[in-house]
């Protein structure tokens, strides 16, 4: 047993003595591809809605609420899934968001939001994180689907056109400033700007 371990250590310690350099480079490359692939597959898997609502906290609260909104069913049949609004498209932002989301998984494991009441108590805090994020990135996730450049004001209701052609066009406000609570119920909004 000890002999065997010693041998493995020798190989690991000075691999080039035991294997050709070519083999090592190739092997490293293949291993890298497999690791990278696996990593991205894991990333992909956690980027599906089924994963997001895999835990009952999300399934029972926010997912139920989403179902009665325009982002779940509408005449054009385009659906916004959880990651569409909550996970950035570019890679570094995506990783950063996943790290943050791990904290929410932590919240699940340790039961800080495992009942409707606890979830409701935490909702303001969770919502504020999302508002801050969307405010900071100028509502990037909304704009992935809704492109301001292609908005036809003549096709919008006067109320919408009025707001979009002024505060939005000038960059003074962004989508989330005016459209809070479009996908889920809102927490107590006392003190939130715009309410």
């Amino acid at each position: 047993m000890l002999d065997k371990l010693k041998k493995i250590w020798q190989v690991l310690n000075r691999p080039s003595v035991h294997y050709s350099l070519g083999f090592l480079t190739l092997g490293g490359f293949v291993a890298g591809v497999i690791f990278w692939g696996g990593f991205n597959t894991a990333l992909e898997a956690t980027n599906k809605e089924a994963f997001c609502i895999g835990c009952h906290e999300m399934e029972n609260n926010v997912y139920q609420e989403l179902q009665s909104t325009i982002h779940f069913t509408n005449r054009s049949g385009v659906r916004a899934t959880c990651p569409d609004c909550h996970v950035p498209h570019n890679w570094t932002d995506k990783i950063a968001r996943k790290m943050q989301a791990s904290k929410e998984v932590w919240g699940k494991v340790f039961g800080t939001i495992n009942t409707r009441e606890k979830f409701e108590n935490k909702r303001r805090e969770l919502a504020e994180h999302e508002w801050a994020r969307l405010k900071a990135n100028d509502s990037l996730e909304c704009r992935n689907c809704h492109n301001f450049t292609y908005m036809d004001f003549t096709r919008q209701s006067p109320r919408a056109a009025q707001m979009h052609s002024t505060s939005l066009a000038s960059g003074e406000k962004t989508c989330i400033d005016c459209h809070k609570g479009i996908a889920h119920h809102l927490p107590d909004m006392a003190g939130v700007e715009g309410f």
Partner: protein, 161 residues
């Protein structure tokens, strides 16, 4: 005593005949029970197409000065509960600058003793109790409401003759 008994017996009799006739008079003929469904009671009819709420943003005239104005825009998804009053995020005094919406009138800030409050009066909190959006739908029941301007006009006209 005897006359009293007789009188009460008579009145009971009279009352019950009255009830009977009025019941027959008010009862709806069978072929008219299903007027709103437009199908016999044992048949599941195809529901009519759902109408979209009017969203033209053009204020409707009020039928009398005290009428709560109808809502000229859609209110889909506007949360209105103890946590949030989405309506007030546009119609509150301090929001009208941003939203360009008409402020809720001063009556919404008054309690029942006509004291002015700084905040929206609790009895006016749930807006949709009194204000509703509209459909461009055919009337289910004929409406014979007459505007009071017409009434006054008709009245003065009559008095002239």
């Amino acid at each position: 005593m005897k006359t009293f008994k007789l009188v009460s017996a008579f009145s009971v009799l009279a009352f019950s005949t009255l009830m009977m006739t009025s019941v027959t008079a008010a009862s709806i003929p069978e072929d008219r029970i299903d007027t709103l469904r437009q199908a016999p009671i044992n048949v599941e009819p195809n529901p009519p197409a759902m109408q979209a709420v009017l969203n033209k943003d053009i204020k409707e005239m009020r039928n009398y000065p005290m009428q709560p104005p109808v809502i000229p825009h859609k209110i889909d998804g506007y949360q209105l509960d103890l946590k949030v009053n989405k309506c007030m995020s546009c119609h509150a005094r301090h929001r009208t600058g941003d939203s360009q919406a008409p402020m809720v009138s001063v009556t919404h800030y008054m309690d029942r003793d006509n004291n002015f409050l700084a905040e929206l009066s609790p009895r006016r909190y749930f807006c949709t109790q009194c204000h509703v959006p509209q459909l461009d739908a055919k009337l289910l029941v004929e409406n014979d409401f007459v505007d009071m301007d017409h009434l006054i006009k008709a009245n003065t006209e009559q008095n002239k003759h």
